[in-house]
């Protein structure tokens, strides 16, 4: 089995983002970037499937500007075999990304594509679902468990009401939830080794995908802020305030 893991380069989860004064987006200049946390979980799962003998190769793919290669290297340092960089400066929407991943997955004959459930920058939560739809492959979204078996994959999904178990056929597309695993840290020797692993570079045109945007961002603004309120020092005071001031109980 060959596993493809699409990863996104995003602003590090620990950074407090700021809206640009001209309201065209958020400040990204000189801001620490990292692999989207859900993508780290996806890479980890691919490696575990490989280590369990279910896969021969783990390929990382990322679409975006040249710097995405750093993010691909992070995946290679964790243990993935090689990378594909889809090089473009254009802002990408999930449908276009899904179409490009499809082209790569078909070229590589990937049996399983593992994506993050959500990129923590745009919070879209779309790409994996779209990929499954256009590839006409079964979708396992928000998974917290995956096992390879005779008929494909046994998966457990995190849903609003609890957990759901499905059996899906192979080849398949799955997206990771937080509880699937805890990603490993790359060791220094593996970081060194990763520098020599190959990364193919392709363009959206070579993949035959039209990436023009269909959604126009008109304005990005700060949300209304909440002010800190008052401190209380006893249960009686708190209950009194909730009853008589806030009137919520």
């Amino acid at each position: 089995m060959k596993i493809l893991v699409p990863v996104k380069r995003v602003i590090d989860a620990n950074i407090r983002v700021r809206v640009k004064p001209d309201q065209t987006g958020v400040e990204t200049a000189n801001v620490k970037m990292a692999m989207n946390p859900f993508c780290e979980i996806a890479v980890e799962q691919a490696l575990r499937l490989k280590e369990a003998g279910h896969a021969e190769e783990v390929i990382i793919v990322s679409a975006g500007p040249e710097k995405c290669q750093e993010t691909i290297r992070t995946g290679l340092a964790m243990g993935a075999d090689r990378g594909v960089h889809i090089n473009t400066e254009t802002t990408l929407e999930p449908l276009a990304i899904a179409k490009m991943i499809k082209a790569v997955a078909e070229k590589e004959s990937a049996d399983l594509v593992i994506l993050g459930k959500q990129a923590i920058d745009d919070d879209n939560n779309q790409t994996g679902q779209m990929l499954a739809a256009i590839m006409q492959r079964p979708l396992g979204s928000y998974i917290s468990k995956i096992e390879k078996n005779h008929d494909g994959f046994a998966i457990t999904r995190e849903i609003d009401a609890g957990l759901e178990k499905l059996q899906i056929t192979s080849p398949a597309v799955v997206t990771t939830d937080l509880r699937l695993n805890e990603p490993r840290y790359a060791s220094l020797p593996n970081i060194m080794k990763a520098k020599k692993k190959p990364i193919d570079i392709v363009t959206p045109e070579q993949l035959g995908v039209d990436i023009s945007n269909r959604i126009e961002v008109l304005q990005v603004t700060e949300p209304p802020t909440r002010d800190a309120g008052v401190m209380v020092s006893s249960a009686a005071e708190l209950v009194d305030k909730l009853k008589n001031e806030a009137k919520v109980i």
Partner: protein, 325 residues
């Protein structure tokens, strides 16, 4: 303009999130229709027909839709958007931004070659919507040029639509007509095995009037009954931070935040929760926030209307005693 709202339900009851979604659909302007796809779901279709502002309910009652298999429901929606039913098609397809809608809408959108928009918190006009990005640290106003807009709706940002079933005096003639629609076939890729649902007699987290959430400060799952008792005294639901879920104190469906559930109750009590940005993303639109934390520097105090700097194992029992008075 016709707007199709996809009902969320469990074949017995209509989820309240559907009512918030109908409100958002009403703000787009146009005829609002609801699709109920399920098995033995006639009661749900009846409930949908009584929602104020809904003019038609499509019901597809078929074993294929007994469980929420994204692929099957998506194929049905695609066939309706393409003109099955009354053949007029739809300008908008909307579902709640729950795990149900978040999985479904992008899938349908891609089948129809549409770029969908997730988690809208405001309808500006029929093409323009506002949605939170970066864990709610920014609001993005976006305009879609797609012929059919496919959207998921942040339910806490829209009121519940009136549900006439609660009001005996309403005129039955105003209820929407219910029409059946043929199924669109089933995929054989996906086999439903089972659902393990967290049993709860408490109100549902995303629509509860009061939410009591616990974090890592709770120390163990054994201590959560403290919060359950408090929630019961206040008629509320119990939630949690990611740290509490990851540590196994409570099940995954308790998680409030950027990547869990979004709640906006009248009263949110954060107990032993530090107030990370990813947690705030899921609760900062609550009307009143109370924080109990023994670290006076905890960031949660910066958004709390009432903060209490106290050990939770002292504060929560004291609060319980005070509420019993």
């Amino acid at each position: 303009m016709n707007i199709l709202v996809i009902a969320e339900h469990d074949n017995a009851d209509l989820a309240p999130a559907t009512l918030n979604t109908v409100t958002a659909a009403g703000q787009v302007g146009g005829d609002v229709h609801v699709l109920v796809a399920g098995q033995d779901c006639a009661g749900v279709a009846d409930a949908a027909a009584k929602i104020a502002g809904v003019s038609k309910v499509w019901v597809c009652d078929c074993a294929t839709y007994a469980h929420e298999i994204t692929e099957n429901t998506a194929a049905l929606i695609q066939s309706i958007v393409n003109g099955k039913g009354d053949g007029k098609g739809y300008s908008h397809v909307m579902a709640p931004a729950s795990t149900f809608g978040k999985a479904l809408i992008p899938y349908v959108a891609a089948l129809c070659d549409v770029q969908s928009i997730s988690d809208i918190s405001e309808v500006v006009d029929a093409d323009t919507f506002v949605r939170p990005i970066y864990a709610g640290n920014a609001l993005s106003k976006v305009k879609s040029s797609e012929a059919v807009k496919m959207l998921t709706v942040r339910t806490t940002a829209f009121e519940l639509a009136d549900d006439a079933s609660a009001d005996q005096s309403t005129d039955q003639n105003k209820w929407a007509e219910i029409e059946s629609i043929d199924d669109a076939g089933a995929t054989n890729w996906v086999q439903f095995i089972e659902q393990s649902l967290s049993p709860s007699e408490r109100p549902e987290l995303t629509s509860a009037r009061v939410v009591v959430s616990g974090g890592r400060g709770m120390q163990s799952g054994e201590n959560f009954p403290l919060l359950e008792k408090l929630a019961d005294q206040l008629g509320g639901a119990v939630g949690a931070s990611r740290a509490a879920v990851d540590a196994g104190f409570v099940p995954n469906d308790y998680q409030v935040g950027q990547t869990g559930k979004v709640v906006a109750p009248d009263l949110y009590l954060a107990v032993g929760i530090s107030g990370a940005i990813q947690h705030l993303a899921g609760m900062k639109d609550s009307k009143v926030i109370v924080a109990i934390n023994n670290d006076e520097e905890a960031p949660i105090f910066q958004v709390a209307d009432y903060g209490w700097n106290e050990d939770l194992f002292v504060a929560v029992p004291a609060l319980q005693a005070e509420l019993e008075k």
